[in-house]
């Protein structure tokens, strides 16, 4: 549905109700993003920094870092994903309940970064779908916070009601 769609449209009519429900559900999800800190390398320290006093990710209600994937909503992949680790990252992703989001924090997680070598996976998007990429090596905590706000915006625009009905096929994990 586009914004300039003014004429009556049955399809739109159907969507209107859904959109309202969407707005409510999205508001809820948007403001309660509990991260799963997938601290792999250097970026994990900046992830800690963003949770510490100066940057304080708790302002967004995101300081509830759950190490159990089942209780978290958003996986922050912070650091270099090696091939040896890739399997684990994927399994943890599989164990998270829907809806789930992934933030690739830093150059290594996004593309492999400066580590072009035999051991490093060239971007975590090879194994899990990524919602937000953060540049930097490592990104400053401000950049991470910005990414999380972008993620909130993204969640705000999802059609979550339809996703509720849809049963996604997931890997065993």
């Amino acid at each position: 549905m586009t914004a300039n769609d003014v004429a009556y449209n049955g399809k739109v009519e159907g969507d209107v109700i859904v959109t309202r429900a969407d707005a409510v559900i999205n508001w809820i999800r948007q403001h309660s993003v509990w991260p799963m800190p997938m601290g792999l390398a250097c970026c994990a320290i900046e992830l800690m920094a963003s949770a510490a006093s100066r940057y304080d990710i708790s302002r967004f209600g995101m300081e509830v870092m759950r190490f159990s994937p089942r209780q978290s909503d958003c996986m922050i992949v912070a650091g270099t994903v090696t091939y040896k680790m890739a399997e684990v990252v994927r399994r943890i992703y599989d164990q998270m309940g829907d809806p789930k989001w992934v933030v690739a924090m830093g150059a290594c997680a996004s593309t492999g970064g400066m580590y072009r070598s035999y051991a490093v996976m060239q971007g975590v998007d090879n194994i899990v779908p990524v919602d937000v990429y953060v540049s930097g090596c490592p990104p400053r905590p401000e950049a991470l916070l910005d990414a999380m706000m972008k993620l909130q915006d993204k969640i705000g625009n999802e059609s979550s009601v339809r996703n509720l009905r849809k049963k996604k096929s997931v890997a065993s994990g």
């Binding site: 890739a86 035999y118 065993s172």
Partner: protein, 205 residues
């Protein structure tokens, strides 16, 4: 400090040693067969209690003895290092006696050396890969192994099935670039040392 008297007496005591030129620490070459007893003597008699480092060098495929291991010992008495080189005589199946009985610290170093170079340490209690996963077929620090890596399947079949991921050679077209200072000028243009996959060459399958 390690002085000349000490090095002289050491060379006298162990006749199989040969001294090597070195710009920093006293360096000896010890044949592999004598390595364990020599290292034991160094620990017990000479006070070299710390095995600082154990690693290997790949001298390239053309070299007569392709692999050699390097041990660095540190002494709290002398406050100095001794470096021990030993050549692996067999190029195809390089092997070296393990010193992990003498220095438990060598255990992991030897595993790493095995992982990276494929040097087999005989009598090692637990010689298996330490950094790469167990099924990895290559030895990455050998000179013929490209930095970008070689296509290899990943472990965990179920994850691979879903993600279709495998070890792929990393792209090298972005650098880092180095130029060589010898040869014709066309060769000295800066380029990646490992060219297994560049914009000119297709990505290997």
């Amino acid at each position: 400090m390690i002085d000349e008297d000490f090095t002289k007496s050491l060379l006298d005591k162990h006749s199989y040693l040969t001294q090597r030129e070195s710009i920093d620490w006293f360096t000896v070459e010890c044949p592999g067969s004598e390595l364990v007893s020599f290292v034991k003597a160094m620990r017990d008699d000479e006070g070299f209690e710390l095995l600082i480092d154990l690693t290997a060098i790949d001298h390239g495929e053309g070299a007569e003895c392709r692999f050699s291991t390097v041990i660095h010992l540190y002494s709290l008495v002398h406050r100095g290092y001794v470096r021990i080189h030993s050549l692996c005589l067999d190029n195809d199946k390089p092997s070296m006696p393990s010193v992990s009985d003498v220095y438990p610290a060598a255990n992991w170093h030897e595993r790493e050396t095995f992982d990276m170079f494929g040097i087999h340490f005989s009598d090692h209690p637990n010689l298996k890969r330490i950094l790469m996963w167990d099924e990895y077929p290559h030895f990455p620090l050998r000179k013929e192994f490209p930095l970008a890596g070689i296509d290899t399947p990943l472990p965990a079949a179920d994850v691979v099935e879903v993600t279709k991921a495998s070890v792929e050679p990393a792209p090298m077209m972005g650098g880092p670039f180095v130029s060589s200072n010898s040869g014709p000028i066309s060769d000295s243009e800066p380029r990646a040392k490992d060219e297994s996959w560049t914009e000119r060459k297709e990505k290997p399958l």
